[in-house]
Amino acid sequence: MSAILLPFTGGRVTLKQGGGGRAMRALIERLFVRDFATMPFDGVGVDAMDDGAAIRIGDDWLVITTDSHVIHPIVFPGGDIGRLSISGTVNDLAMMGATRVLGMTCSIILEEGFSLDSLEAIQRSMIATCREANAPVVTGDTKVMGRGEIDGLVINTCGIGLTRTLVRDNGLHTGDRIIVTGNIAEHGLAVMAARHGIEFEGDLVSDVAPMNGMIDSILSDPDLADAVTAMKDPTRGGVASALHEMASKSNVGIVLEERSLPMTDAVRSVSELLGIDPLHVANEGKALLGVRADAADRILARLREHPLGRNATVIGVCGEERRGSIILDTGFGRRLLAEPEGEPLPRIC
């Protein structure tokens, strides 16, 4: 096991903590889990480091999740920070099985000087996404900080959902198939292309969207629901990060078939040119499902009926080889898929 050192250079946090991947997980474990986990709690709590927490209420589970959003640029091809903040929280709830959102909170911190027009556009985006997900924002908070004390704006959202069946990210078994619900690497690359001013002739657009409707079409079907052994959404750190967590928590190895990964030509081109692995890039409208082999085809068919799931594909299988690791079959040979260490930077040339 490699030593993951917290890169606090000179006792100060460096940017890489926010980028997903091992450095961030190490920070979370040291900062949150170590202390917060010492208090008694009946349910799925902070030490599970799942997409949310779950509290038993009678026969049901109350699922809670929270997220802060600091993306730049605030507006990107395919969406904006408003749509991202609502979708992100709705999706975290959905990944634990809570596709019915009881309510959300929204706290916004604004920098002095932030444009009212921009704020209104973000607000419109948020309410549109709330309606799409049938997830009302029921309370919130607003603060303003001085110019330069914060960069633009920060949005924090919290969501509460209810579910009879809790789906975790640690339930994979040997033989289970890994399904991704659609084309990968769109969000992260669209944002990166916007940030670096890369002119592109095709469509490179974020996939940001609330998935609770699509996931509900699987989980509300008793035939299909119990074939789903694990779920996680591959946000920061991409498919690689999410699968690593699932594999290590479930203690299985996963073999991924590189040729089966669904992605658009635009994503293929831009990632090749920037030297970035699509498996390390964030997605904001896709889910990874671990499913029992015998149900894979039926689940695929159901996903493909939904507009967000048209390109759902089986991309891998769980096994006993190299538990906790991901093996990538490239078509030429096989290699281990590394966990991304932070924000992927374009490889320079």
């Binding site: 490699s2 030593a3 993951i4 050192l5 890169p7 250079t9 100060r12 460096t14 890489k16 091992r22 450095a23 030509d265 293929r268 081109s269 090749e272 030297g275 690791s325 093996i327 990538l328 079959d329 490239t330 078509g331 030429f332 040979g333 096989r334 290699r335 281990l336 898929l337 590394a338 260490e341 932070g342 930077l345 374009p346 490889r347 320079i348 040339c349």
Partner: protein, 371 residues
């Protein structure tokens, strides 16, 4: 995607079978070396090592320009940054440790560092900046020609170049002459050869009796290059063979060579971990002293050494790894104290460093080829 991509796995597997036959024909274990980070990247990314026969060792030599950039050279850039100049650098160099600081550390302390994708970009930054802009010119000869081009194109007065460019052919001599070296053939980098031409390797082959094959960077280019190289080894016919004819000719790009040698002169110098490489460093000629950052800025390296270098640095074996005598798994620090988040040596920092690549792609695991 495009017919310019030689990525048919079927073809690769057939070539792997041929490679296997050839190696067995030699009746021994064969070790060859490539000297290009991009070759290692492609090999690792496509999992090509699981296709190679077990008796063929394809070793990565000192072909990562970031890894061979020496500690004092990084220190020079840090010292110039501390004087208020903007440093334009390729992204890979940002985190490479100097004796005390990396450019990233300097940036965290307030220095102005710009990440560029091209020397041209550095010139453009200089045009719109008020302060001095210095291009931290790392890379081998392929990149040096681009630096030469911007130097010859009348850059603005606030622009200068800190050249730490390196030249590959001399380091092949050093490797070939090392007593522990088991290298029987070299795979040369296609892009560098596009500039220098294949003829530049002829004296080397004559002197050492070791074949050199020039290969491109698509998976099938690499497989084909290796097939040809092992065949030459098997037949004991040392020669230079160009397996990248779509981009490389015997005399190379004469215009680029003209510009390169007009601007730069080869000088002996240290490569990180490899000791002295005669003619391995490219420095600005006197005619361009007015654009030489070393002449424009006072650089006192001793001012940086106010405490001892990190204790772990002494255990780093990047030099041996780059020379192909050992591999990352031989290093006590690899994947323990030395990881990308906390690198000890440059090989773990650069995307073309052997240690970084092995860390990312799982080293040489005992995985089988694709079905």
């Amino acid at each position: 995607m495009s017919e310019l991509q030689f990525r048919d796995p079927r073809l690769a597997r057939s070539m792997a079978a041929t490679l296997d036959r050839l190696v067995r024909d030699t009746g021994r274990k064969v070790a060859v070396m490539h000297v290009c980070g991009s070759h290692e990247q492609a090999i690792a990314k496509y999992g090509l090592r699981s296709l190679f026969p077990k008796s063929l060792e394809v070793i990565m030599g000192p072909g990562c320009p970031v890894c061979v950039t020496d500690v004092p050279e990084v220190d020079e850039s840090v010292l110039i940054a501390a004087q208020g100049a903007r440093i334009a650098t390729f992204g890979d160099m940002l985190k490479v440790p100097g004796s005390v600081k990396s450019l990233a550390d300097a940036q965290a302390s307030g220095a102005k560092i710009d990440i560029v994708y091209s020397p041209q970009q550095a010139v453009e930054i200089a045009r719109s900046a008020k302060e001095e802009v210095v291009l931290f010119a790392t890379g081998f000869e392929t990149t040096a020609v681009a630096t030469a081009a911007v130097i010859l194109d009348d850059p603005p007065p606030n622009f200068s170049v800190l050249s730490v460019h390196k030249y590959i052919p001399p380091v092949m001599e050093i490797i070939a002459e090392m007593p522990e070296s088991r290298i029987e053939g070299f795979l040369a980098a296609g892009h560098a050869a596009t500039i220098t031409g294949s003829a530049v390797f002829e004296p080397f082959v004559k002197r050492h009796g070791i074949p050199v094959v020039i290969a491109g960077f698509e998976p099938n280019d690499i497989m084909a290059g290796l097939v040809e190289l092992v065949d030459l080894i098997r037949a004991r016919t040392p020669r230079v063979v160009n397996m990248f004819p779509r981009c490389v000719t015997r005399e190379g790009n004469l215009e680029a060579q003209k510009q390169l040698w007009r601007v730069f002169r080869p000088m002996g110098g240290r490569w990180r971990g490899i000791a002295h490489v005669p003619n391995g460093n490219l420095r600005l000629r006197d005619e361009f002293a007015h654009l030489d950052a070393r002449k424009r800025f006072p650089i006192d390296l001793t001012s940086l050494w106010d405490y001892a270098p990190p204790a772990l640095a002494g255990q780093c074996i990047c030099g041996d790894i780059m020379a192909g005598i050992r591999n990352p798994n031989d290093c006590r620090l690899f994947n323990r104290e030395c990881v990308p988040e906390n690198p000890v040596g440059a090989c773990m920092v650069s995307n073309e460093g052997t240690c970084k690549i092995w860390h990312l792609y799982g080293g040489v695991p005992d995985l089988e080829a694709s079905a």
